[in-house]
C-alpha cells in the first residue's frame, strides 16, 4: 500500500515536472501580458488623477495644460470611460470632456453648450484626446508576441522586454497599430510606438518615473515624441492618484453642466 502510494506520488511528481517544463518552453500569452501591463498603468477601481501636459517644439516649451481625469471601467466591455476637467490655463478652466468610446462631448461652462466632437477633433495641443484618457489596451487590441529583446527604457536602463504588436479590434481606438515593449520581469510598459492605418509612425511613448500609486508601482510620466517631427515632445505627468467613485449616471451629456467635484 505504502509502495503503491509512493509510486503514484513519483508518477504525479514526474508529470508535474513535465508540465512545468512544458510551460517554461511555451510561448507566453501575449494578450495576458498586455492585460497585466494595463493593470500596471490603470488601477482596477474607479479613480481620479491630475495630468499635467507640458509641450515642447524645437526644445522650447510652447504650452502647458493641467487636467483632472476621472475614470471608471464599463462593467460589460471592461473599457474605461473618462470625464476630464480642465484646470489650467485660466481660459480653459472648468471646461469638460466626456469620452466613452467614440462618444465624445465637450462642455463649456461659459456658453453652457454641450457639443459632440469627433475623435479627430483635438482639444489639447499635440496630444490626442485618446492620449489623456485611461485605456485598457487589451480590450481593444489583439496582441502578438513579436520578440523578446533588450531595449532601453525612459531612464536609459536596459530592460529585457516582450515586444508585442497590437492590432486594433475595435473601431473606437485612437491608433490602428501599436508596437509595445513590456518588461519581462514585472509587466511594466517600457515604451510604445503608435501607427496610423496607413502605417505611418505617429508617436513614440516612454513610460517612466515608476512609483507606488494606489497599491502598486505605476508610471507617473509618459514622454510622447511625435513620429513625423521628433522635435515635438509632450511630457505628461500624473499625480494626485485617488480612489474616486464616479456614479454611472454622471457619465452622460446631461450631467456635464452639473459636474462640480469637491
Amino acid at each position: 500500500m505504502f509502495r503503491t502510494q509512493s509510486s503514484v506520488k513519483a508518477v504525479l511528481g514526474g508529470l508535474a515536472t513535465l508540465a512545468i517544463l512544458n510551460v517554461a518552453h511555451a510561448a507566453p500569452d501575449a494578450q495576458a501580458i498586455l492585460a497585466a501591463s494595463d493593470a500596471v498603468r490603470n488601477p482596477g477601481k474607479p479613480f481620479a488623477l491630475t495630468t499635467t501636459l507640458v509641450e515642447y517644439r524645437d526644445g522650447k516649451q510652447t504650452d502647458s495644460n493641467t487636467l483632472t481625469v476621472y475614470s471608471k471601467a464599463n462593467e460589460n466591455s471592461g473599457q474605461f470611460r473618462s470625464l476630464i476637467r480642465f484646470v489650467a490655463p485660466a481660459r480653459e478652466t472648468n471646461k469638460l470632456l466626456l469620452k466613452s468610446g467614440n462618444d465624445l462631448w465637450f462642455y463649456d461652462p461659459s456658453s453652457k453648450a454641450s457639443i459632440r466632437i469627433s475623435p479627430q477633433q483635438r482639444l489639447l495641443g499635440q496630444a490626442a484626446n485618446g492620449d489623456v484618457v485611461t485605456v485598457n489596451l487589451a480590450k481593444d487590441y489583439r496582441a502578438e508576441l513579436a520578440a523578446e529583446e533588450d531595449t532601453q527604457d525612459g531612464d536609459r536602463k536596459t530592460r529585457h522586454s516582450y515586444k508585442l504588436v497590437l492590432a486594433a479590434t475595435s473601431p473606437d481606438v485612437t491608433y490602428h497599430r501599436i508596437e509595445m515593449w513590456i518588461d519581462t520581469a514585472n509587466n511594466r510598459p517600457v515604451k510604445a510606438r503608435f501607427y496610423s492605418e496607413s502605417g505611418r509612425h505617429l508617436k513614440t511613448a516612454y513610460y517612466r518615473r515608476y512609483q507606488s500609486e494606489l497599491g502598486t508601482d505605476r508610471p507617473t510620466e509618459t514622454v510622447i515624441i511625435d513620429g513625423l517631427n521628433p522635435n515635438w515632445v509632450t511630457v505628461m505627468r500624473f499625480s494626485d492618484y485617488a480612489w474616486r467613485e464616479v456614479p454611472e449616471s454622471w457619465l452622460q451629456r446631461d450631467y456635464l453642466p452639473r459636474f462640480k467635484p469637491e
Partner: protein
C-alpha cells in the same frame, strides 16, 4: 551592394531615432511642473477698439469698449451649489449716451443635490438646448435674452446673455435623464436701465419645459423636449447626433408645433395658426491639421417665404421695422431658409494662432453676413482682430444693417 546600402540607411535611421528619443527624454528630465488647482472663479476683462463703416458710404465711426465678465461657481455645503455669472459692458461712442453702460446678470441660482441622481435648482439659469452650431430651434430660452451684443459670433451670442428665472428638477440614471422646469412670469415689459436684472425680458410669460434623453445605443443618445408658453401651443423638440466616421459628426435639431407665423406674432395677430417646423441639419468635419469645417442648413416655417418677404420689404417701412425688431429679439430667422458655413483652424500657420470665420447666407434674399477672426493667445491673454461684413440689398436680412463693415481689435485678459 544594394543590401549593404539598405542596411546602412536602416542603421542611420535607427541612430537618428535614438538620438531624437534621447533629446526628448533629456527635455523631460528638465521639465518642471507647477501645481495648478481648480478655481471657483473665472474672471476676464476685455478691451476693444471698434471701427464701423456705414452702408451709405459715410465716414467711419469709432468706439471703444471695456467689459468685465465673472463667473463664480461654488459649493455652499456638501449638497448645495451656488452659481453667479455677471457681465458689465462699457462703451464710448464719441459722446456719452444712456446705453454706454449695460450690466447683464447672466446667472444667479442655487442647486440642491440630495443624492447622486437627483438635483433641484432655483434662480436665474442660462439654459441652452440644441446641438446645432448656427441656429438652435430648441434653444427656447434665447428669446429677448440679449442685452448687449459685443460680437455677432454665435458663441458670443449664447454666452453673453440673460438667463431665465426658473425652478428646475432633474433626475438621472445610467444613460438617461429627465428634467422639468417652470419659468414664471415675473415682470413685463423689459427694463433697459443699466443695472436692471431685466426679468421683464426673460420672464414676461409663464413657460415650462420637459427634457428627456436616453442612450439607445453606444453611439446614439437622442434628446426629446416638450416646451410651452402662454402665447403658443406646446412645441416638440428633438436633438440627434451621429458620428459618421472618425472625423465627422452629423447633427439634426428640430422643433415643431402649432403656432402663428412670426409676422402674425409681430403684428399681434393669431389668424394663421398651423403646424410649423424649425430645423437645423449639419455636419462638422475635422481634418488632421486641426481645421474644422461646419456646413449647416437652417429652416424656419414660421419665417417669411420669398413672396411674403419681398412684399414686406416693399411695403410700409413701419411694418418692416416692426417685424425685424420682433424677430431680432427672438433671435429667430426672419425668412424660411438659411445656410451657415463655419471654419476654425487651431494652431494655424504657427502655434497659438487660431483662424476662424463663418458666413450666414439668407437663401431667400441672398444677403450675407461674413465674419473672420485671427486670434493669438498667451497663457493669460488673447489678442484678436475681427472683421464683420454685411452684404445684400438695402432691406435684405443682412444688407439692412446700418454698418457695411465692422473692424474690432480685442484684447482679453483671463485672471
Amino acid at each position: 551592394m544594394r543590401s549593404a546600402a539598405l542596411t546602412l540607411l536602416l542603421c542611420l535611421g535607427t541612430a537618428y531615432a535614438q538620438d531624437a528619443d534621447e533629446a526628448a527624454l533629456a527635455l523631460a528630465d528638465k521639465t518642471e511642473t507647477q501645481a495648478a488647482r481648480t478655481s471657483d472663479w473665472r474672471v476676464l476683462t476685455e478691451g476693444a477698439l471698434i471701427e464701423s463703416i456705414p452702408r451709405n458710404g459715410g465716414s467711419p465711426t469709432r468706439a471703444q469698449r471695456l467689459s468685465l465678465d465673472a463667473l463664480y461657481d461654488t459649493r455652499l455645503a456638501a449638497n448645495w451649489r451656488a452659481v453667479v455669472a455677471d457681465r458689465l459692458d462699457l462703451a464710448w461712442r464719441g459722446e456719452p449716451t444712456y446705453d454706454d453702460l449695460i450690466n447683464t446678470l447672466k446667472e444667479a441660482y442655487v442647486s440642491w443635490q440630495p443624492n447622486a441622481d437627483n438635483i433641484a435648482d432655483a434662480g436665474r439659469i442660462n439654459l441652452r438646448y440644441g446641438v446645432a452650431t448656427g441656429y438652435n430651434p430648441t434653444d427656447y430660452f434665447r428669446a429677448n435674452a440679449l442685452r448687449s451684443v459685443v460680437s455677432v459670433a454665435p458663441t458670443s451670442l449664447r454666452e453673453n446673455r440673460l438667463g431665465t428665472a426658473m425652478l428646475r428638477g432633474q433626475t438621472l440614471w445610467a444613460g438617461g435623464s429627465l428634467a422639468a422646469l417652470y419659468a414664471p412670469k415675473l415682470a413685463d415689459p423689459s427694463n433697459g436701465s443699466p443695472f436692471s436684472p431685466d426679468f421683464g425680458a426673460t420672464n414676461n410669460q409663464d413657460r415650462w419645459l420637459i427634457a428627456l434623453s436616453q442612450k439607445l445605443a453606444d453611439d446614439f443618445n437622442p434628446q426629446m423636449l416638450l416646451y410651452s408658453d402662454e402665447r403658443n401651443p406646446p412645441q416638440l423638440g428633438v436633438n440627434l447626433t451621429r458620428l459618421l466616421n472618425d472625423a465627422t459628426v452629423a447633427y439634426l435639431e428640430y422643433s415643431g408645433g402649432r403656432s402663428a407665423s412670426l409676422l402674425a406674432q409681430a403684428q399681434r395677430r393669431s389668424d394663421n395658426v398651423e403646424f410649423r417646423s424649425r430645423a437645423s441639419a449639419g455636419l462638422t468635419y475635422t481634418a488632421p491639421s486641426k481645421l474644422s469645417v461646419t456646413l449647416e442648413y437652417e429652416y424656419n416655417a414660421a419665417g417669411l417665404d420669398r413672396n411674403d418677404w419681398n412684399a414686406l420689404r416693399r411695403g410700409a417701412p413701419g411694418a418692416y421695422l416692426q417685424y425685424r425688431g420682433f424677430v431680432q429679439a427672438l433671435q429667430d430667422l426672419p425668412t424660411t431658409q438659411s445656410v451657415f458655413v463655419a471654419a476654425r483652424w487651431q494652431d494655424a500657420l504657427f502655434v497659438h494662432f487660431d483662424l476662424s470665420g463663418f458666413q450666414r447666407i439668407d437663401v431667400i434674399d441672398y444677403s450675407r453676413l461674413s465674419f473672420l477672426e485671427a486670434r493669438y493667445h498667451w497663457d493669460h491673454a488673447d489678442l484678436a482682430l475681427q472683421w464683420q461684413h454685411n452684404s445684400g440689398e438695402a432691406t435684405s436680412e443682412f444688407g439692412a444693417s446700418p454698418q457695411r463693415t465692422v473692424w474690432q481689435a480685442v484684447v482679453t485678459y483671463f485672471f
